[in-house]
Symmetry: C2
């Protein structure tokens, strides 16, 4: 079975890639540039992870498509703190995962891949409606109907925490040092934005140090 | 209520636009260039229809995103005959409507528009899985979940024939002469491809002549 992974460059989708390979899928990876501050750093990380696994990687430019979409992640200040904080809702990019899932579905259909694997998880549920189970199950159905059964969606960590994903990634030997989670547009991740905070806590909950080097 | 119409340049979405205005929606229109032979003719028609109604029109370029998608509409011969014919299934563009609906959802969310109106109809059901009721209802649910209730999908002609759409368009005074239905990459529509055939039959079923001038 061929599977396409939406590979963000962050740690979650890297573990999803490893999980798909462990499940003996023939994997291709796709990343999206959608014009956010931190996005080009993420894309480079995604490419490095794909290269590590010897998996083809295609980068799709959505910056024109998403020009004018309202989000602090695209054109404002990136807030610090926890995902659950109200301020973090400013980092929502309208329809981002709906759009990603749709495009990867069309690509999977064209490439005769029957599955699209996504890295959404329970830590995303509070802030991002298009990462919640209600969205996922409806979208999975829409994809199956719209692609006439040729493609389906898989989200192995839909109900799992980021701590669980770190643990599974350690088991699978995921090169976490290559991944990039930070929302800030700087070379070294900040360690303070909501995204970094959640990541550091996920490593801490496993009693393991994050191999990524953080800036000041 | 603000609504965004996915305006292809064909007759169906032009009638949908008129229907949304009749329902007192504040309308904006979006078209997509996805790299097909006939697509630039369609886009010009969409722009002309939007201009006729004094509605803002935005064209989104998906040609890079959909490069490599497998379809005769993108890189092969366009078959002649009826939509129902097996050969017409070659004109399916993988995931096209899933992708269009998703992007317009993100745009609607950003523009604070609560509705996305689509021109899918019963004549599309045989060939295009992402125009069928099963897809529409699942996708509508996915959009509502993914946008946390901010956006929904509307398809006024989901269960209606193209003949019905022509009749409704005549009632609403839709400028059918500005619309473009043909799948062939030529200035004047061919009158022979599946798309033209269905259109001509829809006008004939109303005892009305199509105002568009057909080539040889």
């Amino acid at each position: 079975m061929k599977a396409i992974i939406s590979l963000s460059g962050g740690m979650d989708s890297a573990v999803v890639l490893a999980e798909a390979l462990a499940a003996e899928r023939q994997v291709e990876a796709v990343g999206f540039f959608y014009g956010s501050h931190h996005n080009s750093y993420e894309n480079k990380a995604a490419e490095a992870v794909a290269k590590h696994y010897g998996v083809p990687f295609r980068l799709i430019d959505l910056s024109g498509v998403m020009a004018g979409f309202k989000s602090n992640l695209l054109d404002g200040e990136v807030p610090e703190g926890h995902y659950e904080d109200a301020s973090m809702s400013k980092t929502v990019v309208p329809g981002r995962n709906i759009i990603f899932a749709s495009i990867v579905t069309g690509l999977a259909w064209s490439r005769e891949a029957g599955e699209v694997w996504l890295g959404i998880h329970s830590g995303d549920h509070a802030i991002y409606p298009d990462c919640r189970p209600g969205f996922f199950w409806a979208m999975k159905r829409a994809v199956e109907e719209g692609a006439d059964g040729r493609v389906t969606l898989v989200a192995p960590f839909l109900m799992n925490s980021k701590g669980h994903i770190v643990r599974r990634g350690l088991e699978l030997g995921v090169p976490f040092g290559l991944t990039r989670t930070c929302y800030k547009p700087q070379q070294k991740p900040c360690g303070k934005c909501g995204s970094c905070t959640e990541r550091l806590e996920a490593f801490a909950s496993n009693g393991v140090e994050d191999p990524v080097e953080y800036g000041k």
